[in-house]
Point group: C2
Chain length 341, copies 2
Amino acid sequence: MAPRQRLPDRKSKITVREVALRAEVSESTVSRIMRNKGLVADATREKVMETVRAMGYVPNRIAGSLASLDAFLVGVVIPSLSNIVFPEVLQGIQSALEPTDLQAVISTTDYNADREEAMVRGILAWKPAAILLAGFDHTDATRRMLDQSGIRVVEMMDIDSTPIDVAVGTSHRRAGHAIGRHLIQRGYRRFGYVGHDWNADRRARLRYDGICQALAESGLTIAAQALSDGPSSVATGRAQTARLRSDAPQVEVAIYSNDDMAVGGVFHCLGAGIRLPDDFAVFGFNGLDIGRELPQPLSTMRSNRFLIGQRAIEAILVSPERPKQPLTIDTGFEIFEGATA
Amino acid sequence: MAPRQRLPDRKSKITVREVALRAEVSESTVSRIMRNKGLVADATREKVMETVRAMGYVPNRIAGSLASLDAFLVGVVIPSLSNIVFPEVLQGIQSALEPTDLQAVISTTDYNADREEAMVRGILAWKPAAILLAGFDHTDATRRMLDQSGIRVVEMMDIDSTPIDVAVGTSHRRAGHAIGRHLIQRGYRRFGYVGHDWNADRRARLRYDGICQALAESGLTIAAQALSDGPSSVATGRAQTARLRSDAPQVEVAIYSNDDMAVGGVFHCLGAGIRLPDDFAVFGFNGLDIGRELPQPLSTMRSNRFLIGQRAIEAILVSPERPKQPLTIDTGFEIFEGATA
DNA sequence: CTGTTAGCGCATTCAT
DNA sequence: ATGAATGCGCTAACAG
């Protein structure tokens, strides 16, 4: 634990008091003016604002928040920033936060539930208006803290479980099922799967389950799979595709755990002279921009991460109190046909 | 301005007082224990910790920070989250923040200096230990606020100007110059440039200037360029490459404003059957992962954004006071030869 | 329309 | 080793 940061003892510590004295009004008047609340004569307002500007006064929100018991922060706890989907969710959050005077405190967990617990504890200490998390996998202690806090809690990305308060996202199980159905309808029968670490990414697992279920309903199975135990990446997708191709040359179509992996698959094919989708077909998940710009657009399942962040904030803005019933908000998914499957 | 969020009036508002009463000690004792500061008998510590756990007490940092005048927040103001480089910087920040008990408050400006001003004002109100910004383009008001705040200020990404306090990043002008030199040495003479909006991305402009200078030193110039006025993207890079190729077929090598754009260029070539680098060569900037996984690895200039975030935090952790002299920290750059130029 | 009073929850002297 | 008193800077009643 590093040493705390003591604020520099700037002698020029300007508070309401200083402003009030200089402007010859009371502190409450200054306070009212700074918050545009309550009635103030235009004359005094101008007089005060002038000295505020002159002195460069910035109200101390720490004190303000303590006095009013209002919250001006929203906690956000996500697994990582290196998977592009989370920055996208953050964009949605920032955009929905813009008209508000709430600010986001952001922490990352590295897909570690214990770290999540620590982050949640740290954030709750700031008495935020709400806290947004990714997924439903929390430690018991985390769950207890969230419960007791009484604030709004949004579990994002996934809606395949019952939330503490609100869930916003898409059904990954249903998305996987839809992928399976789609590919069967297109005539594929020999399926492969290329994936990354399921322990870190439970949603990839849910999609996988959905796929298997759809195949099973048609009497089919996944004939071969190439799984890596690291995080998803273009490089991994590329390597695992090579492996799948050599292990199971009969596979007609590979479903990938996400678009990063699938793009790696496309790159492998481009390099090895494999024709898509005739020799081998590739199907991704996420609808990343880059997939659309490939020489042949990537066939994939789009989900809207920006919307997830946005809806999450909108949901908690409705009321500071949790509803009696947990709420689930489905941001949907959509097949993008593309040209690789 | 949306309504504030009033914290739910949970009757179970647990404060030091409640814990102290239940544990039959004074508030100061509880406080000391929670902060591991000052001497406390093991027996009482255990007794208190037990009731802390039982009651689920979480100290209120708002009150704590106000009372102690210590700062527990670090403000981060970046242009956007959609350009992958900023999430990477954030990763570095988060990683350096981990052993600390500081937390990051993050805002985005959409490349708008007035929004930056608003974000900085909002963040300063939280009396953060430090504030990290991208670049040197701030409004006068922003500059004044940062100055008066007395806290540490880090200007990130770029080190081509004199910082307020600390600058961390790479010299984009020198990077551009190095790119120019490198390509000249490899024998290229007919240069093209493919870029995006310079108003939003001043660093791209600095690189461009560096490139031009290097070419000029060898009596060369950029013969043709394709500029879009939107943000950088794979799609834009692809479209502008098509334009450049038809407008100026004589161009041997195109330097791109960044890797997103350059990957778009590569995709165009792959689709149009243009052989890289013989028919046309492509050179990027940033060293994004995806470039390395292309069928032919993208020739580019690597810079380390994670390191920028990390060094930024390290720099402000050294001392809560600004040094007399502004400090510049160079995180460097490095040519990645690749196979597209 | 403006001022006065009394905390918000905690950390910090200073006593004991 | 522990407790009591004071105030951080501001907002929220209430008076006037």
